[in-house]
């Protein structure tokens, strides 16, 4: 019975404000979660989500019915994250998000799950490309869908995921040694 996302997006692109509102309402939480995964910080994720929301109406014009709305939305998010990173000067700044998160987290909760520490370190280790890809795949997207979002081939996605796994495995071995 629900109107599909695609119908809503088409209606919104044609100027239907109600359709736009319900579309955004449906996807906001998922969008925020994704922003968190690629930024690694709650405040950065809120900011990124705000940027995306502000720009979304203008971007709607570029929505093509061929694509699923989620795919399109992820692409918008990845591009926005890319723009944001570009604005920051250095790689150190770019990964500061996870660092902040680490500081805040330790301050708030001393005895955190060890696994979360591991997650933070792991995400920090990865390059931007690998982290974006991993975030998409961890968000229940298939390799093909992630490829569509990032505009690269499916093979590249698979390669990146295996790279990411390699990096994670190396990290684990490193930890085990210690």
């Amino acid at each position: 019975m629900m109107t599909s996302d695609e119908d809503l997006a088409t209606a919104a692109a044609a100027g239907d404000g109600a359709a736009f509102a319900s579309l955004l309402d449906r996807h906001y939480d998922r969008l925020f979660a994704f922003c968190f995964r690629i930024t690694g910080s709650r405040s950065a994720a809120e900011d990124l989500t705000q940027d995306i929301c502000a720009a979304l109406p203008a971007k709607l014009a570029s929505y093509q019915r061929r694509a699923k709305v989620t795919t399109w939305l992820y692409r918008v998010a990845v591009n926005a994250a890319h723009d944001q990173r570009r604005k920051r000067a250095t790689y150190a700044n770019a990964t500061a998000g996870w660092g902040d998160w680490e500081i805040n987290r330790t301050a708030a909760n001393a005895d955190t799950d060890e696994k979360l520490d591991w997650l933070i370190t792991a995400m920090n280790r990865l390059s931007d490309d690998l982290r974006d890809t991993l975030a998409l795949v961890l968000d229940d997207m298939t390799h093909a869908q992630a490829a569509e979002v990032l505009g690269i081939s499916e093979g590249t996605i698979s390669w990146r995921i295996s790279e990411a796994k390699k990096a994670l495995r190396a990290l684990k071995e490193q930890e085990d040694m210690v």
């Binding site: 119908d7 404000g17 955004l24 906001y28 939480d29 705000q50 570009r86 997650l119 590249t156």
Partner: protein, 691 residues
């Protein structure tokens, strides 16, 4: 390693915080504000240095980036194969086909002229139409825009009136801009003269018009204020309880429209409760086919059945359920039909749920027509034009081709089109045949309707000459439900809203005979309640159909038509004398007007005219106390409750969606087409949305 990923995913899910509620609201509001700001003028996305101009080098880099070994091998192999095919004489023979190339021949291709090379404007129109085709994939791959030019019966100077009407609208743009657009390639023209593109691309024009006419009455509700639309609905305040001693008589016209139900469904399925004014309870009730007892062959064309039973939402009151079942005449013996389709092809119709759906709907309907029926098509956009001269329904290919050739563009001129449609209908008129104009629109009468009353009078005058009008509404956002209702009521026709192909199936196929063949005209209902038995009463729905008490016996006053096989249901909620539910105290000094006591709760009088007759006939039936309600009556009561919930009517007490759903579910009956099941789903949706 997949385990690792799963672990990681679990961790990630754990680490991901919930979005901050305040920020969420603020961000969504920001997006809506930006969205509203964008309406009216929608500039292109500004290119940023992040992406940069897409040059050959970037393209090659992207290609190399994306290329895998497999893809590379396939591409180079394909290059070599192509070289072989084109460069060697042996391979040229392979290319040459032994016979004529195979083509798929459709119903249209046989009659359509070979497609001419596309002019630029057609290319632009084609682009938008192609968009819509993806959704409503047409089973017949007819080339729509080409036919504009191939069909000789079409006016070839269509563009000129559009310029004129755009100028009237105040869109600042010169005729030269229009010519530029036609002469140069599409993209730059669209960029330099965005307003010139208005007549070709629907969305900006619609939103531009909305800005001007957006209603501001709801400005205090941010969600609605940010999403201006020009929908207007015909409705009135809910009928209040009336005190029988003061006002014992209720008079109204029947209503066989169903548009309100489809509008409610369309709203709910997109996740919003419908505006209360969009809910006309009698149309919700009358949407469903009911299995009431049919009239005998030699009786009146319809049969009233009156039952009284306990109100589901109030044990202390009763429902008086009045059901009319129209006779289903022999289908084979039906008179020939002369139908004039009057189709709105204004720019706003360029939407998958409008013109393409309309085309498909009419194709469905065409299958229901007989060889002796006649069809003509008139379109209105800027200036009215006859698309199809009266054609026998057996000539399917010609009719289908004309329907396919319709393309959206320009502004609407409802009246010019109506006049032409009626004059066409007059030429088709023959004795004993049924004449009807079927107006299909998204409700846009934005040009030429200086005086709505004059238009109604025009339709009413034509109705008296025997040509009726039905209105089919399409699409949301622009729906002028009030005008549609007014036109259909004045034209002795039905107003239906078509939001899906299955609704088109219901209106134009399953219930076509009812929509097109009136069996009784000007059907009025008058109910007089007995003050000795009934203290208070109220009519549920029919707010827009109320008549004056004296209108009942006045044959000059128009009322609703009953179509072949139609059922009409009217429900009163009555409070018996002495019931604790009585809202008003009995008067201490009232004269005792009830001379004799009768067991009857009231008396129903019905007036109708045989089709074409000018003198009405009378049917009467008493309302007797408690009787056992049928499944049909119970379902109607559930729908009446649902409608009141949607309208937030105050009479339901604690009775809510749960009870409505339970009552409707228990009384779905046979429900051969699933309409009632769908209604239960809508109730559940409304329940979730209303929390």
């Amino acid at each position: 390693m997949t385990d690792d990923l799963n672990d990681l995913k679990a961790m990630m899910d754990k680490a991901t915080p919930r979005p901050d509620a305040a920020r969420r609201t603020a961000n969504i509001a920001l997006a809506q504000k930006n969205f509203a700001d964008l309406q009216g003028s929608r500039p292109e996305l500004r290119p940023t240095s992040a992406t940069g101009p897409k040059g050959l080098w970037t393209g090659v880099k992207t290609m190399l980036h994306a290329m895998t070994t497999k893809g590379g091998l396939a591409t180079t192999t394909a290059l070599v194969a192509c070289g072989f095919l084109f460069l060697t004489p042996q391979a040229q023979d392979i290319l040459r086909p032994p016979s004529a190339p195979q083509m798929t021949v459709t119903e249209f291709d046989r009659v359509a002229a070979p497609p001419a090379p596309l002019p630029e404007t057609a290319a632009i129109q084609g682009a938008t139409i192609d968009e819509s085709r993806e959704v409503f994939a047409s089973p017949l791959p007819a080339p729509e825009p080409e036919l504009n030019f191939a069909n000789p019966s079409r006016p070839t100077t269509k563009q000129l009136p559009q310029i004129a009407s755009d100028a009237q609208l105040g869109v600042s743009e010169s005729a030269e801009g229009m010519m530029d657009l036609q002469a140069t390639t599409a993209a730059p023209a669209l960029r330099t003269a965005p307003s010139a593109a208005h007549s070709l691309t629907a969305a900006p024009e619609v939103s531009g018009a909305r800005r001007v006419t957006a209603p501001t009455s709801q400005a205090d509700d941010p969600a609605i204020a940010l999403a201006p639309n020009t929908e207007s609905f015909a409705n009135a305040d809910t009928n209040p309880f009336k005190i029988t001693a003061e006002d014992p008589v209720s008079t109204f016209s029947i209503d066989v429209d169903t548009a309100s139900y489809a509008v409610v469904r369309s709203s709910l399925s997109r996740g919003a409760l419908p505006p209360a004014d969009a809910v006309r309870i009698e149309e919700l009730i009358n949407y469903f086919p009911y299995d009431y007892p049919a009239p005998d062959a030699d009786e009146a064309p319809f049969r009233p059945v009156v039952t009284t039973f306990e109100t589901p939402w109030n044990a202390d009151t009763q429902l008086v359920h009045i059901a009319l079942q129209g006779r289903m005449p022999e289908i084979d013996a039906r008179p020939a039909l002369n139908l004039v389709f009057l189709i709105d092809t204004s720019g706003s119709m360029d939407d998958p749920t409008k013109l393409p759906l309309l085309k498909q709907s009419f194709r469905l309907m065409l299958d229901q027509l007989r060889p002796q029926d006649q069809v003509a098509i008139v379109e209105y956009a800027g200036s009215a034009g006859q698309v199809l001269a009266p054609t026998a329904a057996s000539d399917r290919t010609t009719i289908l081709q004309s329907i396919q050739s319709l393309g959206a563009g320009g502004s609407t001129n409802g009246q010019g089109g109506l006049e032409q449609a009626y004059s066409l209908a007059d030429t088709m008129r023959e004795d004993g045949e049924v004449n009807r104009v079927i107006l299909a629109t998204d409700g846009d009468f934005n040009v030429g309707l200086s005086d709505p009353d004059a238009l109604k009078d025009f339709i009413a005058a034509k109705r008296d000459t025997g040509t009726y009008l039905s209105v089919l509404g399409f699409g949301r956002g622009n729906l002028d439900d009030a005008t549609m209702q007014a036109l259909a009521q004045n034209g002795n026709g039905t107003a239906a809203y078509i939001d899906t192909l299955s609704e088109a199936q219901k209106v134009l196929v399953d219930q076509l005979s009812g929509a097109l063949f009136p069996i009784a005209g000007d059907v009025k209902v008058q109910v007089e309640f007995n003050p000795a038995q009934i203290a208070e009463y109220r009519l549920i729905g029919y707010e827009t159909r109320a008549l004056n008490r004296e209108d009942f016996n006045n044959d000059a006053v128009d009322a609703g038509e009953l179509g072949a096989g139609h059922t009409v249901t009217a429900i009163f909620e009555v409070t018996p004398v002495g019931s604790p539910a009585q809202l008003s105290d009995p008067l201490r000094y009232a004269p005792n007007t009830v001379a004799e006591t009768s067991d009857e709760l009231g008396f129903v009088k019905l007036r109708y005219k045989d089709p074409g007759a000018s003198v009405s006939k009378l049917i009467e039936a008493p309302i007797i106390g408690n009787s056992t309600p049928s499944t049909e009556a119970r379902f109607a009561a559930a729908v009446a409750g649902f409608g009141q919930l949607l309208r937030n009517d105050p009479y339901l007490g604690d009775w809510g969606y749960d009870e409505a759903i339970a009552l409707a579910t228990a009384n779905r009956g046979a429900d051969a087409f699933g309409y009632r099941t769908e209604a239960v789903q809508l109730m559940r949706l409304a329940q979730s949305l209303s929390r």
